[in-house]
Symmetry: C2
Subunit: 257 residues, 2 copies
DNA sequence: GTTGTGTTGTTACTCGCCTACTAACAGACA
DNA sequence: TGTCTGTTAGTAGGCGAGTAACAACACAAC
C-alpha cells in the first residue's frame, strides 16, 4: 500500500487532498505543530491551520489552543466510525427520498425486445440470481469457474430446485459441477463441445425458454478488484427465445450420474 | 425530505450533481430515454449520455443499446449496497495504510500542560467514556440531561465502580441521578448550588484528582443533527489539578439516600 | 419519392467554483 | 536580528455545470 493510494482513498471518502495528507501526517506524528505537520505532509504551513480546522469540524482531529497550536488525530477506530456514520446518514437521506419517489411516473415497464447491459461482477451476480429466483419451470446455469458461483446464486439455484423448478448446472469445469453433486434435485452436466471455447466467457442463465443472461470477462487491468465482467440479459422477448434455443442446442445433454 | 437534500446527499456520497439528478429521475421513471431523463432531471440532454455511462460504470444503472437508448436504475437495495461496498473498500485501503504508519515518528506523546479541544457529541462522549475507563481511584461524572449519558458512558461508569474506583454521579436533574440509583456502587448527588447555572453546560468528568473534561452545548441550529457540543479536556497537568479542585469545591456533597 | 420537422448521439466550447499553491505581513520569541 | 506563528490575500489549474452545434436518422405530410 502506497501513501498516494491512501490519500486517493481518503479523497474518495470526502476529504480534500490537503486534508488527507494532514490526517496521515498526524497519524505518523502522534501530535504536532503546524510546522511539523507541514513538513511531514508536504502541505504549505499557511494552509495547515484551516485544513486542520476542517478536520476538527469533522471530528477527525483534536486541537490544543496553545502557542504554538498542537494538533492530534482522534483514534483510528473513532475516525472510521465518524466517516461511516456520515456515510450512513447521507445514504439514509438520499435513499429515503429515492424510496419515496420510485416509479412515480408509471411503474417499471419492461420494453418489448429489450436487451439490457450491465457491468460489474456483483451486479451480474445479483441479476443472475434474480433471474434464477424468478424462474418458474426450468433453469440452466453455466459458469466457467467456481468463483463465479456466488453464495447467492447457489442458494437461488437450490431454492428453485426444491420449489419444483427443473434445475441444471452445466460446466466444462468439474469444480463447478462438484459444487452441486450432493444436491439430488440439481442435475450437473458437462458440455462436451462448448459453443464458445473462449476463456473470457463468464456465466449464463437460461430460464423458462425465454429468459437469457450471458456474460463475458474483460481483460483484467492492473487493479485486480476492478470489476471487468459485462453481461447482457433479456426476458420474454423474441431475442430471448432465439438465444435460449441456440444456447440449449449447443449444450450436449450428457448427464453425469 | 426535499429533492435538493437528496441530491446533496448523493453528492456527498461521491456522485456529481448531474449524476445524482439522473439517478433520481430514473427512479421516478422506472426506465426512460435520454430525452425523458433530461426532462425529469432538468439536465441537458447532451449530458445525459455521458452521465448515465458514468452511472453504469458505477453499477447504478443498466443500459439498453437500442434506438433510442433506454436506461433503467438498478434496484435501490443494490444501489445502496454498491455505494456502501465502495465506501468500505476505500476505508479499508485508507485506514489499512494509516494503521501501518501510525506513530512512526515517536509514539503518541501527551504534551505537558496540554488542553485539548474537540467538537461533536459523539466525540465528546467517546472521550468522556475513555477518561472514565482510564480512571484508577475516583470519578465524578456530571451531566445536565439524561441524553448526555450515553450507553458507553454508563457502561464505563459501572465498570469502573465494580472495578474498585470510587464513582459519583452528580446532577441537578433527578432524571440523570435516577439512571444510577439502582447501582449500589455508584453514589448519586444533587448539586445544591451549581457553580454555573447555565443551560448550555453539558457534561463533565473529574477523575483521579488530575483529569478533567468539561463540555458546553452550542446553540442548536436549524439542523437538529448538527453536533454542537464542544469540550475541552486535560490530564495530568497543573491545569487539570486546579480545575479538578475548583470543580470539586463547587459540588455540594449532599448525598441522596 | 420528396420535403420538412423533430429526435438522437456525439463533440466542442465557455464559465464558475473549488482546491492547490504561493506570497506577504504583523506580532511573538529566543 | 533571525526565526517562527497565525492570518490574509492572491493566482492558477482542473473539474463540473451548462450551452451550442452538427451529422445522421426517423417519421409524417404531400
Amino acid at each position: 500500500m502506497q501513501e498516494g493510494d491512501a490519500i486517493e482513498s481518503l479523497e474518495r471518502l470526502g476529504l480534500t487532498s490537503y486534508e488527507a495528507k494532514v490526517f496521515i501526517a498526524l497519524q505518523k506524528l502522534g501530535s504536532g505543530t503546524a510546522r511539523e505537520v507541514s513538513r511531514v505532509a508536504d502541505v504549505p504551513r499557511s494552509q495547515v491551520y484551516s485544513v486542520t480546522e476542517g478536520l476538527e469540524d469533522r471530528g477527525l482531529v483534536e486541537v490544543q489552543q496553545s502557542s504554538p497550536m498542537q494538533y492530534r488525530p482522534v483514534r483510528i477506530e473513532e475516525a472510521r466510525k465518524t466517516l461511516r456514520e456520515r456515510f450512513e446518514t447521507e445514504s439514509d437521506r438520499a435513499f429515503g427520498y429515492v424510496e419515496s419517489v420510485r416509479n412515480e411516473r408509471g411503474g417499471e415497464r419492461e420494453e418489448q425486445e429489450a436487451i439490457w447491459t450491465l457491468s460489474g461482477r456483483g451486479h451480474v451476480a445479483e441479476r443472475a440470481a434474480e433471474l434464477v429466483r424468478n424462474a418458474e419451470e426450468s433453469v440452466v446455469f453455466a459458469a466457467r469457474t467456481p468463483d463465479l458461483v456466488t453464495d447467492d446464486i447457489a442458494a437461488a439455484l437450490r431454492e428453485a430446485a426444491t420449489g419444483g423448478v427443473t434445475v441444471r448446472v452445466v460446466s466444462v469445469n468439474p469444480d463447478v459441477r462438484e459444487l452441486f453433486e450432493s444436491d439430488a434435485s440439481i442435475a450437473t452436466m458437462d458440455t462436451a463441445e462448448p459453443a464458445v471455447d473462449d476463456e473470457r466467457t463468464g456465466r449464463a442463465v437460461l430460464a423458462d425458454g425465454n429468459v437469457v443472461l450471458m456474460s463475458v470477462l474483460g481483460d483484467c487491468g492492473d487493479i485486480p478488484e476492478l470489476n471487468t465482467e459485462t453481461a447482457f440479459w433479456t426476458a420474454r422477448t423474441n431475442f430471448a427465445t432465439v438465444l435460449h434455443e441456440l444456447a440449449m442446442n449447443s449444450i450436449s445433454p450428457r448427464e453425469i450420474a
